[in-house]
């Protein structure tokens, strides 16, 4: 029956790897070898990319807006820091997963607050949760080190084999491997029936329920998974910098993340990664020109993107990158600017 083979071919074609996707990852790996003097900034980009991937999972696929995603980043960061500092789990990879799981538990518990209500409610609830955690971390300074942060974290070699070096080489490759593995997992998830049901919920929650999708259960699941990802990003931060201070919970961190997705676009997984690269490059560029006022220029870029519209910028200014994005995303390059990005 030709209709049947048509259906299965088309259904599976959506999840097929494109050449441009392979090129993206080869390029990422090549950069790690080509610029040995830039390990630290590249690690920074990889971490931010993973963090943005986490937000993309809930924003781009399930339509949940959040201004407090740093809550999970922070919990992951402190968990990893405390585990290493007190020698509870010395092996970094196991500690990384453990920190992610702690963040996931928090994500699961807070998801019940977040799935109620609509966009504005969600923005406020997520923001509130992050502020609460920041205040708690400051209050319990005997555990968290307060404003000084956790001091004296010493990282053991990864898997007992690869020691962290002072140039950040191990840190970069470690972060890159973690990002790639979690990306593969995310890619698998969004192309599954589960991922499809999330897109249906984002499109029309009423109709999703009317064909039998348990809307709340699906939202809780993806929010928990996203919290796990953010927790891993936070743990990577602590493990590669040997630092954890109160600013891991900061509002700026959550807001920057929105900015990354505004730049990169949502709903095709690469938006967070591309956005992270562009955001960090812009930050570097502006900081080298005007160290004090770089925020002015970032602000200007944000206003221009939102006012002119990414679609138009892509067409005229970023013609070539947009070609790549379209290749990566296929025809479903959902690069609409979320309304909440006006913040």
């Amino acid at each position: 029956m030709t209709a049947l083979s048509d259906v299965s071919t088309h259904a599976m074609a959506i999840a097929r790897w494109r050449i441009s996707e392979v090129a993206f990852w080869v390029l990422a790996l090549a950069c790690a070898f080509l610029f040995p003097s830039r390990y630290l900034i590249m690690t920074d980009i990889v971490r931010l990319g993973l963090f943005a991937l986490s937000l993309d999972l809930i924003l781009g696929y399930a339509g949940i807006v959040s201004l407090g995603h740093a809550a999970f980043f922070g919990v992951g960061a402190y968990s990893a820091g405390l585990l290493a500092l007190h020698g509870i789990i010395n092996e970094p990879v196991i500690a990384l997963v453990a920190a992610g799981l702690v963040a996931a538990v928090l994500g699961f518990l807070t998801s019940f607050l977040v799935i109620r209500g609509v966009d504005l409610t969600r923005l406020m609830v997520t923001l509130g949760i992050a502020l609460l955690l920041e205040a708690l971390a400051e209050r319990f300074s005997d555990i968290t080190g307060g404003t000084d942060g956790l001091q004296g974290i010493e990282m053991q070699p990864i898997l007992g084999l690869f020691a962290f070096d002072m140039f950040g080489r191990t840190g970069l490759f470690y972060s890159l491997v973690v990002l790639f593995i979690l990306f593969l997992l995310a890619r698998r998830v969004v192309h599954s029936p589960f991922g499809l049901s999330l897109r249906a919920i984002k499109n029309n929650p009423l109709r999703a329920a009317a064909i039998g999708v348990p809307v709340n259960r699906r939202l809780i699941a993806i929010y928990t998974l996203a919290a796990f990802y953010a927790g891993i990003a936070g743990a990577l931060f602590t493990q590669t910098t040997a630092l954890a201070s109160l600013d891991v919970f900061s509002f700026e961190r959550s807001a920057d993340l929105m900015l990354v997705l505004v730049i990169g676009g949502t709903g095709y997984l690469y938006g967070g990664l591309i956005g992270a690269v562009v955001f960090k490059m812009l930050q570097e560029l502006f900081q080298s020109i005007t160290p004090q006022y770089w925020l002015f220029w970032i602000g200007l870029v944000l206003v221009v993107i939102v006012m002119v519209g990414r679609a138009r910028i892509h067409r005229f200014v970023l013609f070539v990158p947009n070609l790549i994005i379209r290749q990566l995303a296929g025809r479903k390059a959902a690069v609409a600017v979320p309304e909440s990005d006006a913040s």
Binding site: S8, A11, A15, S192, L196, A200, N203, N204, V213, R331
Partner: protein, 250 residues
């Protein structure tokens, strides 16, 4: 004959406004039952209570003898009660293939599969192919729903409801807004619905109602005015007065 869908003394008010008044309705197994009434009679409110979007203030709803009054929307669907929407409520960014695929997956209880890629289960694929071809959607299955002609969207609307394999199907004005040229496909699709599926049709279009229904309930001001076979309803003086007034001569 068994009763497929039943409401008992259903009441719903919005503030001081009684939108559903003591409504007791019985839809028999395999029936082609139509619910008609003038604008503002409360037809949509009834549908929303039947499907679980709204909770009645009092009264009960029974599906095949089981009380479903307290069940959530998606649980009613899994119990075999499915609906179409008056205004298209489709997924603009999804293709017909994905839309039907999702409905079939959810019904089979595979909608939560997060590790399996789509298109890898033959039983799901076979059913998607069958539904897409039955509703003439195979040729447009990879196009975004938002770009489809309106008539195709209406067909998809019915196809999605059918993909949930309902035993009771609520059709909310299936032909509303469809241009004359595409109407035939819709009417044919409605007429070709499997006989064992009980259908409750909510409709304005009297031609469609009288050609399709074997039983008609007339709703006025939230309450049941009369009920009976199409011929009896058409002859009913009360109905002609409040509702059919102008349509009865046609």
């Amino acid at each position: 004959m068994t009763i497929a869908l039943e409401t008992r003394n259903l009441e719903k008010s919005f503030g001081g406004l009684r939108v559903t008044r003591d409504l007791s309705l019985k839809v028999m197994q395999g029936a082609r039952h139509a619910l008609i009434g003038p604008n503002g009679a409360g037809k949509t409110t009834v549908i929303n209570q039947l499907t679980g979007v709204l909770t009645p203030n009092s009264g009960r709803i029974l599906l095949e003898g089981h009380d479903i009054t307290g069940l959530s929307v998606h649980r009613r669907v899994l119990r075999g009660l499915s609906r179409t929407f008056q205004i298209n409520q489709l997924y603009a960014d999804l293709t017909p293939l994905e839309t039907i695929g999702l409905a079939v997956s959810e019904r089979m209880g595979r909608g939560g599969d997060w590790w399996r890629r789509m298109g890898t289960r033959d039983d799901v694929n076979a059913e998607i192919a069958e539904i897409l071809s039955r509703f003439h959607l195979l040729d447009v299955m990879t196009e975004l729903t938002s770009t489809l002609p309106y008539g195709k969207q209406r067909l998809l609307e019915i196809a999605v409801a059918i993909a949930a394999k309902p035993r009771v199907l609520l059709l909310d004005e299936p032909a509303a807004g469809v241009p004359e040229s595409e109407r035939h496909d819709i009417l044919a699709a409605v007429a070709a619905l499997p006989r064992d599926v009980t259908v409750l049709l909510i409709e304005h279009d009297m031609d469609l109602v009288f050609s399709f229904a074997d039983r008609i309930s007339v709703l006025v001001n939230g309450g049941l005015l009369t009920e009976g076979a199409p011929d009896d309803v058409a002859r009913d003086a009360q109905v002609r007065a409040v509702y059919l007034g102008e349509a009865a001569d046609a």
